[in-house]
Symmetry: C2
Subunit: 309 residues, 2 copies
């Protein structure tokens, strides 16, 4: 077997990366985790999590991250603060270019996550995860009998707005164009709901609140009219982008039409020894639960791959 720095390098330290690290460290693989910002990934920007099993009252994103990080450290694995600039995955040994050095590894788990596309309006960053959300499954149940707004024109925006009517008493569905891109049947359901008020030709220009989100500002692009809507929550569904900058325009590993990395059920990508897990993967659902499940499988696959080299 060729000489390397590591058996396994894990990129990213959200729940997926941390779980892969936990499994790999327990399996006594020679493993490193690299994180370019803070451990936790998107979870860190999540105020309160109710749907990760094991925490009956829910748990904050920061606390869950701290607990997962502590657990990984408990097995002697620390998270290294460094950015993967690029990766040469063409050979048997993968070369990972960090900010000031290159490390060589037999296998790689990509757990870099995805980023919800943002509107880029005042107040958005401040309230993201605290009133602004991109996940109805996660945050819809917090909206019982509340007034909420949603923005977007695709399947997700329209379908999830209908889903929100299970909880909210009113949903403003806002889209900047004069018609939705979403499937007709989804549009019909939204239009049939007496809880949904559709605002077309409308953009959201700002988000306001003192200690919590209180209102959004909108502008009608045709009339030029500005309005202020009192809302308790605001869902932004204008797309989600996989964090794969380090791959540049490489053809491999194979990605889906939206840029997410394709895998099989063993989390193997099209490149032998390279695995993808969590939000960066082409997957039907993006949750903490699915991230930790993916990661356990990938760690076992990586271990199996390295043993068989």
């Amino acid at each position: 077997m060729a000489d390397t720095d590591y058996d396994l390098v894990i990129m990213g330290s959200g729940p997926a990366g941390l779980t892969a690290g936990l499994y790999a460290a327990r399996a006594r693989m020679k493993v490193a985790i690299y994180e370019k910002s803070l451990p936790g990934g998107q979870v860190l920007t999540t105020d309160w999590i109710e749907n990760y099993p094991g925490f009956p009252e829910g748990i904050s994103g920061t606390e869950l991250t701290q607990r997962m990080t502590d657990q990984v450290r408990h097995f002697g694995l620390d998270i290294q603060s460094d950015e993967v600039l690029s990766a040469d995955l063409s050979g048997g040994v993968k070369e990972i270019q960090l900010s000031e050095k290159t490390v060589r590894t037999h296998s790689l788990i990509i757990a870099t996550g995805a980023s919800p596309r943002k509107l880029g309006i005042p107040g958005e960053d401040r309230f993201f995860g605290k009133g602004i959300s991109s996940c109805a499954t996660c945050d819809g149940p917090f909206c019982r009998d509340k007034v909420v707004a949603a923005v977007g024109g695709g399947d997700t925006a329209v379908q999830e707005s209908v889903y929100l009517t299970r909880f909210a008493k009113k949903v403003y569905l806002i889209h900047r164009r004069d018609e939705f891109r979403a499937e007709k049947i989804l549009q019909e359901r939204a239009m049939a709901s007496d809880k949904i008020e559709i605002l077309l030709d409308t953009v959201v220009t700002g988000v306001n609140g003192l200690t919590h989100l209180e209102s959004i500002h909108t502008r009608n692009l045709k009339s030029g009219e500005n309005a202020k809507l009192a809302v308790d929550a605001f869902f932004v569904w204008i797309g989600i982008l996989p964090n794969t900058e380090f791959l540049g325009d490489a053809a491999e590993p194979e990605r889906d039409e939206y840029g997410f990395i394709r895998t099989n059920e063993r989390m193997e990508t099209s490149v032998p020894g390279v695995f993808a897990v969590g939000d960066v993967r082409s997957t039907p659902l993006r949750q903490i639960t699915t991230a930790v499940g993916d990661a356990a499988i990938a760690a076992a696959s990586a271990e199996h791959y390295v043993v068989n080299l």
Copy 2:
């Protein structure tokens, strides 16, 4: 849409069933969970769990079960103690036969788990989960510098015994026949390890200990000789059986060669509206992490299925 008792019935209340219930209850589906014994499934027989992310010091199987059960109840969903005797899955509405009634549901998530095959020897039940294990990934790391025994002749037994040498100082690999069924390359690795002592033509006849596992009794089937081996842990790898009795000899949903239920990545089985998750599913890895990931996906798929009826 036809009239039913439930949108969704979940069979089983291990981590997979409880997580499916959590997601479905939060999505305000009309849902029931049936459990024939106690909530928790196999986790309940697990003394200490180190590889479920979020518990830095580890957590006992009973406590994790209690926490997951409380979390489901928090969303108004209780676990019903009843056994599914059979299920008629042929129609659009599924009919679930319980001990004293039949319930009708639009969708079904099968989360009944699997049972490791046991040796049926004295002491086995008492120490299962407390010294006796069927999962090296879970319990191998507890065996640092210990002496352990493993029984079985297939791929799992031989491969996992080699894996155990990462932790244990000695591994007895015991098989009742005069040769292994496992792949040759796996056998070669086991034979090459100076930590593994192979005992062929040998059966384990008993398990002993006062407060914890201390030794196993063996008998050589050729010589008739009995022996006592001092060991700290004992791994039983003689097979695992899916808990699918309620399906009888039905051809659907489709199962793999070992009887585990096949699904696609959305956890859909070959029967529309029927989903399978966790250990009962044909899957590359059986862990709490993978069970909760499967379950979140299945709940979303079931919700989507019912909305589109």
